[in-house]
């Protein structure tokens, strides 16, 4: 009888964030298959059981299932993914209960500072890997420099965890943009699910913005983009976080979706491969499309990488049954994964490891939309696939 | 003797577990006015509601011109030409007085009754036609309720305690009008507490006691004694 380790996994499978959880079943199935023979630790083989729980896109529910996983299922490692609404409540429960916890898929500032983190006194049990605002800013500005348009940027930041972080005077866009010679028009934070962006469009028109940026949910961007068209506002570059991640969201915009730009955290063209299966990014993406008939999405790589880290940690832990030993193994991770190298020793703060970020544009070379990488200032190892084209 | 238009055969009626009528057998002939009397809670209202279809019964227990109607819904019964003036008036508050009357006629059955004739019968209603029906006094509301039932040009009109709350002058008016109302071949069943009045305007009378028929007779021949026995079972 091989002993079993339990891995808890919390993500939004239903509710407005369900897009982020769409690939979960596919990834978990793949991992289960790959690790069917168990994981070897100190000469002993351990089976792993991944227990998946749905946060229903609701932070209350996320906290609840996280605590259930900890207390009832007594998981050995807790993992979670997708936006601060899931990662933060999950990590908070783990921290209080002393359960090793790995999360991903949320820029690190809203994760770390959003939880009241203090770089001097890091969290003890909770670790995170993803990119940060400095990366997205570097990529976006590089993108805009390429475009050679007037350096006036309209900002659309909602009053949610992402929007507040991106728009934050200290951590977010305003400072670096000013340093790099961009003028930011930031009318203020709007409430998510906004029905009317006229006041923003007015301000952008008045200020002569040629670039628009922000971090939005798809319905909000859809409303803004339609109203911009109706009210005669024609920016040359529109670079929006979150809303343009999923191909379906961009396809929905029809012809007006072509030419929009966005951050790219993962793509089939990334030159990485799995530490478990040896698959390339392309193979993973193709596998997903073959299994589900759906186009690849960016979270796929990160979900896979999450379990790569888990696998690696279990292999290396001095004592897999001791939470502190597991945490020590997490802390000392240095693993090349599907999303790049994950190493907490090199992070901006002790609990965070950064992954490479690039940016690109939705283009339509043939009759199908493609996300083309046009900037790789931050991660030259990721190849550029084309050049930026202006909107109008 | 003509066939009855309405006959009740061993009609039972219940509210949940509580049985209110036990095997009531009765009939109404064409153009005939029948009185139902009985003490409080004897089941008079229940009887009227059963006929009108507001309480579901065994199909065969109520026959309308020979057809079983016990199981029909109230709207289906209304379409057959049976109208009820419910106890307590029950007008439609969000309809004006006139609309309350019009909706009574919305089945579109042909006959002598229309808005004009109702206003002739109750002139005060014409004055108040555009007012909300709730703002009428109790008596005025009763007039609307009667008018509303008449507007459907029914063949049988059921009137439950129509004189309740009316000033004597109006009661007089209504009873004076009754022959005119039923004169054109309309049959009527009236529930009335004023026994003398009930007997004076009807051809036959049924007395209910605790859900059973305790007396049946011709209005002009029943005696006071028989009635008080039938009322209280003494």
């Amino acid at each position: 009888q091989t002993p079993t380790l339990k891995i808890g996994y919390v993500s939004p499978a239903t509710g407005p964030l369900a897009g982020f959880g769409e690939a979960d079943d596919f990834i978990i199935e793949g991992i289960n298959k790959a690790l069917a023979g168990g994981i070897e630790n100190n000469g002993k083989t351990w089976m792993i059981e991944i227990i998946k729980r749905d946060s229903q896109s609701n932070p209350n529910r996320a906290a609840e299932v996280a605590s259930q996983l900890i207390l009832e299922d007594e998981v050995d490692i807790l993992t979670g993914a997708a936006t601060p609404d899931t990662t933060n409540p999950v990590a908070d429960q783990a921290e209080l209960n002393g359960t090793p916890c790995i999360t991903t898929d949320c820029p690190w500032q809203p994760y770390f500072f959003g939880r009241g983190g203090n770089p001097e006194k890091p969290f003890e049990y909770t670790y995170h890997f993803f990119w940060g605002l400095e990366d997205v800013i570097a990529n976006f500005t590089a993108l805009w420099d390429q475009a050679g348009v007037k350096k006036t940027v309209g900002g659309l930041f909602p009053n949610d965890a992402d929007g507040n972080a991106w728009g934050d005077a200290k951590l977010g866009f305003p400072g670096p943009l000013a340093e790099k010679g961009f003028t930011l028009i930031d009318p203020g934070r709007y409430e998510p699910m906004n029905n009317d962006f006229s006041s923003y469009i007015n301000a952008f028109k008045d200020g002569g913005a040629e670039i628009v940026t922000g971090v939005m949910i798809p319905p909000d961007f859809g409303t803004f983009w339609a109203q911009a068209g109706q009210q005669g506002f024609k920016p040359k570059v529109v670079t929006i976080g979150k809303a343009l991640l999923f191909p379906s969201a961009v396809e929905g915009l029809g012809d007006r979706g072509v030419g929009l730009t966005s951050e790219i955290w993962w793509s089939p063209n990334h030159p990485f491969k799995s530490s478990i299966t040896g698959e390339s990014c392309k193979q993973l993406a193709d596998g997903y499309t073959a299994a589900t008939g759906k186009p690849w999405t960016q979270p796929i790589g990160f979900r896979h990488a999450l379990f790569e880290v888990v696998n690696d940690v279990i292999k290396r832990a001095a004592d897999v049954e001791d939470p502190d030993a597991l945490v020590e193994a997490i802390r000392t991770t240095a693993l090349p994964t599907m999303v790049g190298k994950i190493d907490w020793a090199t992070g901006p703060v002790a609990n965070v490891s950064k992954t490479p970020l690039v940016a690109g544009q939705w283009q339509k070379p043939a009759d199908k939309l493609e996300l083309v990488i046009t900037t790789n200032v931050q991660a030259p190892e990721i190849p550029v696939g084309g050049t930026l084209q202006l909107l109008s | 003797m003509p066939d009855p238009v309405l006959s009740l055969n061993r009609l039972d009626a219940r509210y949940g577990d509580f049985q209110a009528l036990y095997g009531v057998t009765a009939h109404v002939n064409e153009g005939e006015v029948v009185a139902i009397i009985g003490a409080n809670g004897a089941g008079k209202t229940t009887l009227m509601r059963s006929i009108a279809g507001l309480i579901r019964n065994a199909p065969e227990s109520i026959l309308w011109k020979g057809q079983p109607i016990g199981r029909l819904r109230a709207d289906q019964v209304a379409a057959l030409g049976i109208a009820l003036v419910p106890e307590g008036r029950l007008l439609f508050p969000s309809l004006s007085v006139e609309e309350n009357l019009i909706i009574g006629g919305q089945l579109g059955r042909r006959g002598p009754w229309n808005l004009g004739r109702v206003y002739e019968l109750f002139p005060i209603l014409k004055e108040r036609r555009n007012q909300q029906s709730t703002s009428l006094s109790g008596g005025q509301q009763q007039m609307v309720a009667i008018g509303r039932a008449l507007m459907s040009n029914p063949e049988l009109i059921l009137m439950d305690e129509i004189s309740l709350g009316l000033a004597p002058v109006i009661i007089k008016q209504i009873y004076d009008a009754l022959p005119g109302i039923v004169g054109q071949g309309m049959a009527a069943v009236i529930v009335e507490q004023d026994i003398a009045k009930a007997l004076s305007v009807t051809a036959r009378v049924y007395c209910l006691q605790e859900g059973r028929v305790s007396l049946e007779g011709r209005s002009d021949t029943v005696s006071r004694d028989e009635i008080s026995r039938a009322y209280f079972g003494m």
């Binding site: 959003g114 009241g116 009053n159 | -």
Partner: protein
């Protein structure tokens, strides 16, 4: 002839209830950590449901905005504990008092509304609360805030004791709310409340000061709901406007619980909560299917047992666990 308020069933129920309560108080010695936490959550939902039932089922105040007070209590507690450094056990009752105080001006405004208007009005007020919380940077604004682990750890040194404390707090709050509601209902005021629910015109004409009676109930409910809210977010550790003022979590599910269990009875909210958690514990991992099942149960119960499960049981057996109703004995045939 005499008037009695308790039946043999209710006497037995009270005795059994007392024993059960003792067993529950001892739970930290016999239950697992997970069970403690789950039971704590159940108690908090029983409290919310009981309070909403007092409002809607007895006072006729169908509020769909009670999340305003859950959220207010949560934020109040976070503000006191995090920003002002007030000890947890003091911050919680203070949050309750604050909740009762803000309910005063809110009541003055929304008591002008009736029926469905009142319902929507309470919802809008809760939205206003949410938006205001989202505009309060000190508490994280739209991003939310996490309760520093130190604050929770200050509750008790050892983890076991801390978890037991959290459990007892929840149990205590449940006993407090159910007890308070029971006492209100048994009092003259409770009678007045039911009268108002049934017919305001008559209630007014029989000497009941409608506004004051409702006001009292609304404010008490708001205070206790805030207390529950504070405790909820002590457990959740993290607060954000959407989570704190979630209409689904703190009102829709609560309405579901009360109506399914049996509105206008004290037993209903308890039965409803148990059913709700039974469903959740067995099905929640089925994702969409679970939620669809929840919807189907709501519709099914409303079609088959519109008075709720307890209503159904009571209609069959006439049972009443809490001695509330008054029966006149010795009037011949027993009826009703």
């Amino acid at each position: 002839m005499r008037v009695t308020r308790s039946s043999s069933i209710s006497k037995a129920a009270m005795a059994v209830g007392l024993v059960v309560l003792l067993v529950l108080v001892a739970a930290p010695w016999w239950a697992s950590r997970a069970d403690l936490r789950l039971m704590g959550e159940i108690y908090l939902y029983v409290s919310l449901a009981t309070l909403w039932n007092l409002l809607a089922g007895y006072a006729g105040l169908v509020s769909v905005g009670q999340q305003a007070y859950v959220g207010f209590g949560g934020y109040g507690f976070f503000a006191l504990a995090m920003l002002a450094g007030v000890p947890v056990l003091v911050a919680l009752p203070l949050a309750a008092v604050a909740g009762a105080l803000v309910a005063v001006p809110v009541a003055m405004l929304i008591f002008r509304l009736r029926g469905a208007y009142f319902a929507i009005g309470t919802w809008v007020v809760a939205e206003v609360f949410r938006l205001v919380a989202a505009q309060t940077p000190a508490l994280g604004g739209g991003s939310g805030a996490s309760l520093p682990a130190d604050i929770v750890k200050s509750l008790a040194d050892s983890r076991d004791l801390r978890e037991a404390m959290a459990y007892w707090l929840a149990l205590g709050v449940m006993v407090l709310t159910v007890g308070t509601v029971f006492l209100i209902l048994r009092s003259r005021r409770g009678l007045a409340l039911t009268a108002i629910r049934d017919n305001e015109l008559a209630a007014r004409s029989l000497g009941i000061d409608i506004w004051r009676t409702k006001f009292f109930v609304y404010v008490v409910t708001a205070g206790l709901t805030s207390l529950v809210g504070g405790l909820i977010f002590l457990q959740k550790l993290r607060i954000s406007p959407d989570a704190a003022f979630s209409a689904n979590d703190w009102t829709a599910f609560v309405i579901f619980i009360v109506v399914i269990g049996g509105i206008g009875t004290l037993e209903g909210p308890i039965i409803g909560t148990l059913l709700f958690f039974a469903l959740r514990e067995t099905m929640a991992e089925m994702g969409t299917i679970y939620l669809i099942a929840l919807g189907v149960v709501a519709i099914g119960v409303m079609l088959k047992a519109p008075t709720g499960l307890w209503g159904l049981i009571r209609a069959r057996t006439g049972a009443e666990l809490f001695p509330l109703s008054r029966r006149v004995q010795g009037i011949g045939r027993p009826e009703g």
